[in-house]
Symmetry: C2
Subunit: 229 residues, 2 copies
DNA sequence: TCAAAAGTGTTCGCGGTACACCCATGA
DNA sequence: TCATGGGTGTACCGCGAACACTTTTGA
């Protein structure tokens, strides 16, 4: 098949990268850093790096992320796909990381937030990986409580609607969002009210997510066991 | 943290394994082989092995599987999770493979089918990986056309019901299964009829899946864009 | 009193389930 | 003609979408 490099054992490099997403302004953005050296010099890449010996994948990505953001600000982290590139012998395990809206983490000079919908020229296949991360988030917003990882501790329904709209990329009705999330028991009322802005309007109720760990809230309806079981 | 082995670069071993599932009889079974040598001698393991240099992950798992079954009989293959074990420096990328019901592939002497619901003592965390594979299959049976990868080329609705029941682990109504899959356009009538057995009964219509590539047939209903877009 | 923003009530429709009923065949 | 298995007709129901309408505030 392919010719083997002289040392067939050391040729493999395993690395971890993360698609770190946050809603900033009204757009879903991803954290990228600009490569100063070859390969792919000048292009934008996902944060990450080599897997060390005696290190788990998750520890590895957390360690590499620490160089770019304060990892304590990560509200959620889950694994995406693992890709292999046979030409350069690189294996990459991608993660999806989420940061709550509202915080503005300190990042190094080479690092920037970019709208996922409008990525610059990326190194390797990092553009595709970032888009895959967004798709994963989109899907999970529908049937899990991941919203907790995008939203601040407390919020009003319309603030939450704006977050969902940014993450999903389409308009979201505050009315239905509220009803769905309350019916599923995902949202909890805090009892507080937000006093309206200068423009007036009825004071908004303040909510929070009931849990800050991923839970499946809407099991697939299809082909489930009969109720008379 | 952990002490590093002298040569910190070569310590990583990347391997691929596969959860190969098939409905046999009326049970969902997984292909395992018995390890004849340490580590985990005598325990049952998923087929797989080392990732070679210059090889993609998918090529690797296909190559290793070829030693256990005729890979041409694999009707579907997709990636599951990648696990790392820091104690022995092993990274494992798991795949899910499916074989249509009805064929009985030739397998080596050390290899056996085992019901996923009742696994023997497995090597490493292969038991958990096998169960994760079954969960993935279960979920996808609900919202995709993966059924094609479990069923023979053509079949009657009640044969298909038995397959789904075995894979899902609960009773399935032939009536509703037929309606759901026809409504989604997943099943196609061949026009043929199956002549009834000795017990009589109306002849059953013969169906096949319209596609033998994975397709999402039932997008999540929740939080989709407004129709007036 | 008016505009703005939040929240509720009500209707609709889709898709999946449940179940009664009809159809075609072998013995 | 009866048992057996296959298939259809119909009613129901949960859930999300749409939208009109009410509530509460600031100016």
């Amino acid at each position: 098949m392919e010719r083997k490099p002289p040392d067939h054992i050391t040729s493999r490099v395993h690395e971890t990268v993360a698609v770190v997403l946050q809603v900033r302004g009204s757009t879903l953005q991803v954290l990228l850093w600009r490569r100063a050296r070859p390969p792919a010099k000048g292009r934008w890449a996902l944060p990450g790096g080599r897997l060390d010996a005696g290190e788990t994948l998750e520890r590895s990505i957390r360690r590499h992320l620490a160089a770019k953001v304060d990892v304590r600000e990560l509200s959620h982290l889950e694994q995406l796909e693992t890709h292999s590139d046979p030409t350069d012998g690189r294996v990459t395990t991608a993660y999806l990381g989420l940061i709550r809206s509202g915080i503005d983490p300190v990042v190094p000079a080479d690092t920037r937030w970019h709208p996922v919908a409008n990525l610059p020229a990326t190194a390797f296949d990092h553009g595709a990986i970032a888009r895959a991360g967004r798709e994963r988030l989109r899907a999970k917003l529908s049937y899990t409580n991941v919203g907790f990882a995008l939203a601040p501790e407390t919020f009003t329904i319309s603030e939450l609607r704006d977050l969902y709209a940014a993450a999903l990329g389409h308009e979201v009705s505050a009315t239905n969002l509220q009803r769905v999330l309350l019916r599923r028991g995902v949202l909890v009322t805090t009892g507080e009210l937000r006093t309206p802005g200068r423009a007036g309007g009825r004071p908004a109720a303040v909510y929070r997510f009931g849990s800050d760990r991923l839970e499946i809230t809407d099991q697939f309806a299809a082909l489930r066991p009969p109720e008379t079981a």
